[in-house]
Assembly symmetry: C2
Homo-oligomer: 331 residues x 2
Amino acid sequence: MNARTPRLEEVASLAGVSTATVSRFLNNPAMVAQQTAQRVQTAIVETGYLPNLNAGALASNRSRLIAALVPDIAQSIFNDTMEAMIEQLSADGNSVVMSLTGPDNRRLEAQIDAALSRRVDAIILTGIVSDVETRKRLKSQSATVIETWGLPEDPIDVAVGFSHAAVGREMARFLHGRGYRRPHLVVPRSGRSQARASSFAEHWMADGGEQPSILEVNIPSHFGQGRLAFRGLADLENRPDVVVCGSDWIAQGLLVEAQAAGVRVPDQLAVTGFGNLRLAGDMRPTITSVDIDGARIASEVHRILRARAAGEALPSLLVDVGFRIIARESA
Amino acid sequence: MNARTPRLEEVASLAGVSTATVSRFLNNPAMVAQQTAQRVQTAIVETGYLPNLNAGALASNRSRLIAALVPDIAQSIFNDTMEAMIEQLSADGNSVVMSLTGPDNRRLEAQIDAALSRRVDAIILTGIVSDVETRKRLKSQSATVIETWGLPEDPIDVAVGFSHAAVGREMARFLHGRGYRRPHLVVPRSGRSQARASSFAEHWMADGGEQPSILEVNIPSHFGQGRLAFRGLADLENRPDVVVCGSDWIAQGLLVEAQAAGVRVPDQLAVTGFGNLRLAGDMRPTITSVDIDGARIASEVHRILRARAAGEALPSLLVDVGFRIIARESA
DNA sequence: AAGAGTATTGCAAGCGCTTTCATAGCCGCT
DNA sequence: AGCGGCTATGAAAGCGCTTGCAATACTCTT
């Protein structure tokens, strides 16, 4: 009893125009005359027409599909960015298909295949250290590839993010300036985190500090690791006065454990996080963290995609959105 | 210099068969003879062929695209479920497109339009109380609609979840059994949470308890609300002995604030959460919570979609995956 | 040995759009 | 009146697959 979903043709004949005109009205309203547009609009409403984007994608070779590859979403520091990305990209007719690459990138190749099979307009990579082969492969195909949250030296195509090295440097200066002397770094095993950590160490020592102690933790990082990290402090030769955590979760866990142990933060032990998640400001004491503006990243990505879609050249392939150290109570 | 991406035809001619055969090999390998399959496989590798799924979707009227509508991902209690969903559904050729409906469902209609325009095979709704009109609309169209995390009395199509009322009931019994007498409920303003709360109250009183006090909080719920909730306890006439929180985040925030105030948990004040997020087990004290098996929900959804794709009838439109109260230190 | 049944394959007609190219109408100028 | 330059539209050729139907080649049965 359900009539088939209406096609462009039904709309066209109801409006007394050709399918070409309806298609133009839909994709480029400026091309059709006011009067015609009116009639077409009415016909669309009347028929309850919903375009078939798969057909459109096939014909136009533009899918309006964006693939977002991200390690995970359960405990991800990228979630704010992803959320902004989905919202902004969806706003003008794109759809975001999510792929989870997991802590290792084992499934990455397959996921890229899947994305390319959908003929996505763009692939957005977040927090992913693609290996050389994968990078080469991505370079040699035609969809736009946007790396976010890092600014690689040799981007695959376009990149929107910040310099992890700069974060490490600024954090070192910040803590040095506050008078801390013995930092301990809790570093998730991801290339990005490690880049921050080594930059931190480098600048810390350049400013006359001693080599910071380091604890590596697995990814994805989480609350529990902070607790373990705190306990590990006892084994250190000289007790640190500040723990620089690779994520706010770790910082939070460390804080909780410190409090349970009766250690006063920041007096006896200071703590910093990374990511400036909501909890950083909510935690007690509030957590000093590094804020990355996810919405800004998303809007830059959006801008880039629009430019690409319009066939415009991009002024720059590397967009630095910066970061801010948010000083709070914990350090 | 880049040759166009190969089409089915290139593969076919290289393998010395028709495009139909290659297509069959791809979609239903059992239909082609061993020898032929071998040749086709070789040709595929040789050409580096990647199917164009948009074309396939158009021709077969099956997109292998699944729309997942969820309120948010930044602070979502559904993330574990979503993650499992994406992983499982992606595993056999589907792609999941994410849509964020936000705390209100203002954009919901547009998002449904977008999904239908993609001719998705299914729409997965999570934690969304669609209004009557929307439900009616979803009912009257042909894609599979799966509601998750709740078991509506009148499902749109299929539902996979648990009974919020049962959670409220069991939690009431659990706490009653543990000897608590004055529960206080912190309830996010979402239909689901409220269903749990009213069921809790109902059964609590049926067991002879007094009407629990209630604090409503906005969604999405987060850490900070727990802290506020704790402070609000001071205004209550008789101090509760247990706070039943609508999410683990709230419970965590409450715990942190309680500890800062020197209140011992659970001796002076017990706390329960909901969702059994990772932090519930990591927090100190560990948080008593309600576990929902997201992976199970995902696999049921997956099963349902496979059945639908195969044209099989479903044994049941309502799948109850249950829940478990995880007793920990906080209550 | 003929007929029936089964396993493989090819032909070709779409799936529902977009877009190139051509046409028609109209305006202002010379 | 004739012409160039617009603007608005239509005709129709695909986009790259899937799949119903038909054909072919075998394998069994009787």
